[in-house]
């Protein structure tokens, strides 16, 4: 039993750390497609984390969260963004407000900060929860950092989704927390909306209007 607990703890810790590393990977990348691939990897790791938590907490509903993370975030969203970037001819390199080296250093400082913040205040909680929480908070802060230091709309959205991955990591590791599935669905809707947002935003820039009537007149269908 002891052995089993130690193992479930180690695996959860390892998956959580993988999510965090992917967060650093996002900050490190300079090319948009590499960012998307890294994000897909992070979502994959999140799905694994959720599935593992479902197993060790014996909470089947978390499998749904894992499935959403896998299908929607690891596959659908990266593909959609890939498509958008190609379709709309968005600039393929990441524009940075802060150099990559500095971003990484700030990132490490944020990780240290979240560990310093979370560990003392969670003295009563289970070890697994504490660590996951520290990891999750680091992922959240890294996502925030990415949103702040990267200009492009696509990278901002990716930063937001990375932040959200951290939130879901925290939610799945909080033992017995209800509504996790609903929350992940709510987030998915949000992200889907964002994608539409980018799409329309870019269309607007190209045709100088989002009004679809304009496109119709352009085709000569109206008037």
């Amino acid at each position: 039993m002891e052995q089993h607990q130690a193992l479930s703890y180690d695996v959860a810790h390892l998956i959580g750390a993988t999510v965090l590393m992917a967060g650093f990977g996002l900050l490190y990348q300079r090319r948009l497609f590499a960012v998307l691939n890294t994000f897909a990897f992070q979502a994959l790791a999140l799905a694994a984390a959720a599935a593992w938590q479902a197993r060790i907490q014996d909470a089947p509903h978390l499998y749904a969260t894992a499935a959403i993370a896998l299908v929607f975030k690891a596959l659908a969203v990266p593909f959609a963004l890939h498509w958008l970037v190609e379709k709309l001819g968005i600039h393929r390199t990441v524009e940075t407000a802060l150099s990559i080296g500095w971003t990484m250093i700030v990132g490490v400082a944020l990780v240290a900060l979240s560990i310093l913040l979370v560990l003392p205040v969670t003295a009563g909680a289970a070890a697994l929860t504490r660590e996951s929480l520290a990891l999750a908070m680091s992922v959240v802060l890294l996502g925030l950092l990415m949103m702040i230091t990267r200009h492009n709309a696509v990278t901002q959205v990716v930063g937001f989704m990375a932040l959200e991955n951290g939130l879901l990591l925290a939610a799945v590791s909080a033992k017995g927390m209800p509504l996790v599935v609903e929350i992940s669905i709510a987030f998915s809707v949000l992200v889907a909306m964002t994608l539409f947002g980018i799409f329309f935003f870019r269309i607007r820039e190209r045709f100088d209007t989002l009004d679809l009537h304009y496109l119709e007149t352009y085709r000569g269908d109206r008037h």
Binding site: L117, V118, P120, V121, T122, A123, G124, A125, T129, L133, A136, M137, V140, L144, M147, A153, Q156, F160, L163, E164, G166, L167, A170, A171, A174, K175, G176, M177, P178, L179, E182, I183, A186, V189, L190, M193, T194, G197, F200, F201, R204, T209, L210, D211, H213
Partner: protein, 492 residues
């Protein structure tokens, strides 16, 4: 079962009416009918909310009504109702001007009801998770409405609003999770550890350090949505670019809802008793919002932005009041929430018509309103003076209470508060002068079009709100006072 529940529980009516109308309005092609139905549905919701006074339902796992949220529910339902009346007049003229197509309007009406639903759900949810989902959904619905005009500015505003508020509610969710973790060892796994009514009873046993950390996240998270100073960037844009009825509900209601969420968490902290006091943080954020907004007011050229900044200012004052805490300051905060809600939506009603008449949102293009449109112009003057804090209006009352309670406890803090309020007052009055009393711009066509009914519908909500605000300034009914006091005690 459900049917009998509906009959006996006004709460279910309050939520199901807007939700059902949102669905129905989405498929209704005739926009005039939709606008009328929008009014009817909101009136129904408001009536149902009044029923709460007669029959208060027992709290369930999902929904509850207590002293605190009942008045916000009623207020929300009321302002949502008056706004639909104004909205009917407003969109009629927008459609004449061909700025909105019927498809847009269908979308608009449906989203309006959905938005009201999410706000009411957030107010009545007895579960931190449900409340969060509701606030998130409120963000979504309003983003769609802010971008309704599809202009470059509107889309940029919507994008900014979306990104900032998404991050904000993301952080709020993290805070929510932390609160759950603080509650879970005491309350056990599952929904009990997220229910307000259950948590508040045993909050004393929660882990205080965890609550502290959670509150920081909640404050930053929901604080973004309240529009507190360093996190306010989305607010002026979103208010300025959307349709004016939406600006009215954003300013008058949504900010309140976000603040309500924040206060619920503060109540939990207060009930715990071992945490750091959240007061200083809120006081700081409140004061910085007040100052930032007061200075920004002087430099605005856009009338809707001007009043958006004024909302930041007032949210700052309210947050400051709740941060001070204590029965008197909390009382003042609650009252200010109500007064601001009524007055600010009234101002946006006026601004909506003014901008339609003038054909511009630029303050420089709006002059001599009292001469060209006396009813509207004087209504606008009264409303702006009220929001600026001139006696005898309700806003003055509540601001006065905030200042005196601060003087009594922290005289040093009262000084910046008064300076900030005076700065804002000066800015608003100087802007008002030109708009209300200057010489009218020659050549601007005065719209006399539209039926008499439409004109009444455009002006009625404004005057109704202002009447309430003036009355509240002169005389508050005793039951209302007792009730505010009870809530103020709950807030700690």
């Amino acid at each position: 079962m459900i049917a009998s529940g509906l009959l006996h529980n006004p709460l279910l009516w309050i939520l199901s009416v807007p939700l059902a109308s949102a669905g129905f309005l989405a498929v209704l092609p005739n926009w005039r009918l939709a606008a009328a139905l929008n009014i009817v549905a909101s009136a129904g919701t408001f009536a149902a909310s009044l029923m709460l006074f007669v029959h208060r339902p027992e709290p369930t796992r999902l929904l509850f009504i207590d002293d605190f949220n009942i008045y916000l529910v009623v207020l929300t339902a009321f302002v949502a109702f008056t706004t639909t009346i104004f909205s009917a007049a407003y969109i009629g003229r927008e459609t004449e001007a061909q700025r909105l197509s019927p498809l847009h309007l269908r979308f608009y009406h449906s989203m309006y009801q959905a938005f009201v639903f999410t706000m009411l759900l957030a107010l009545t949810a007895n579960n931190t998770g449900v409340m969060w989902v509701a606030v998130e959904a409120a963000t979504l619905t309003t983003v769609l409405m802010v971008s309704l005009y599809r202009t470059r500015e509107a889309i940029e505003a919507a994008w900014k609003y979306f990104i900032l508020c998404s991050v904000g509610i993301g952080l709020a969710l993290f805070g929510t999770t932390l609160v759950y973790l603080a509650a879970q060892p005491v309350m056990g796994d599952g929904a009990d550890a997220m229910a307000w009514t259950l948590m508040i009873k045993r909050a004393g046993a929660f882990q205080p350090d965890l609550l502290n950390l959670a509150f920081v996240f909640v404050l930053v998270g929901y604080g973004t949505k309240v529009g507190l100073a360093p996190l306010h960037a989305w607010l002026p844009d979103a208010h300025a670019e959307g349709p004016t009825p939406i600006s009215a509900v954003l300013s008058g209601l949504l900010l309140n809802v976000a603040l309500y969420a924040l206060l619920r968490f503060k109540m939990l902290i207060a009930a715990n008793g071992h945490t750091l006091t959240p007061g200083p943080l809120m006081v700081m954020m409140g004061l910085s919002s007040l100052f930032l907004a007061a200075f920004m007011l002087y430099r605005r050229g856009d009338i809707k932005r001007l009043f958006a900044y004024s909302s930041i200012e007032h949210m700052g004052v309210i947050t400051f009041a709740f941060g001070m805490g204590g029965p008197l300051a909390n009382f003042a905060g609650l009252m200010h929430m109500t007064m601001h809600s009524l007055t600010k939506s009234a101002i946006f009603f006026a601004v909506g018509i003014i901008t339609q008449n003038a054909g511009t949102k630029s303050i420089a293009g709006i002059r001599g309103l009292t001469t060209t449109h006396p009813v509207l112009g004087w209504g606008f003057v009264v409303a702006v003076l009220a929001i600026a804090g001139l006696p005898p209006m309700g806003v003055f009352m509540s601001e006065f209470l905030v200042v005196t309670s601060t003087f009594a406890r922290e005289p040093l803090l009262a000084v910046p508060l008064i300076v900030g309020l005076l700065l804002a007052f000066g800015a608003l009055v100087s802007r008002l002068q030109g708009m209300a009393f200057g010489d009218p711009v020659p050549g601007v066509i005065v719209h006399g079009t539209g039926s008499r009914l439409a004109t009444i519908m455009a002006h009625l909500p404004l005057w109704a709100h202002m009447t309430l605000v003036v009355i509240a300034g002169l005389w508050l009914p005793a039951p209302l006072v007792a009730w505010f006091q009870a809530v103020a005690k709950l807030l700690g």
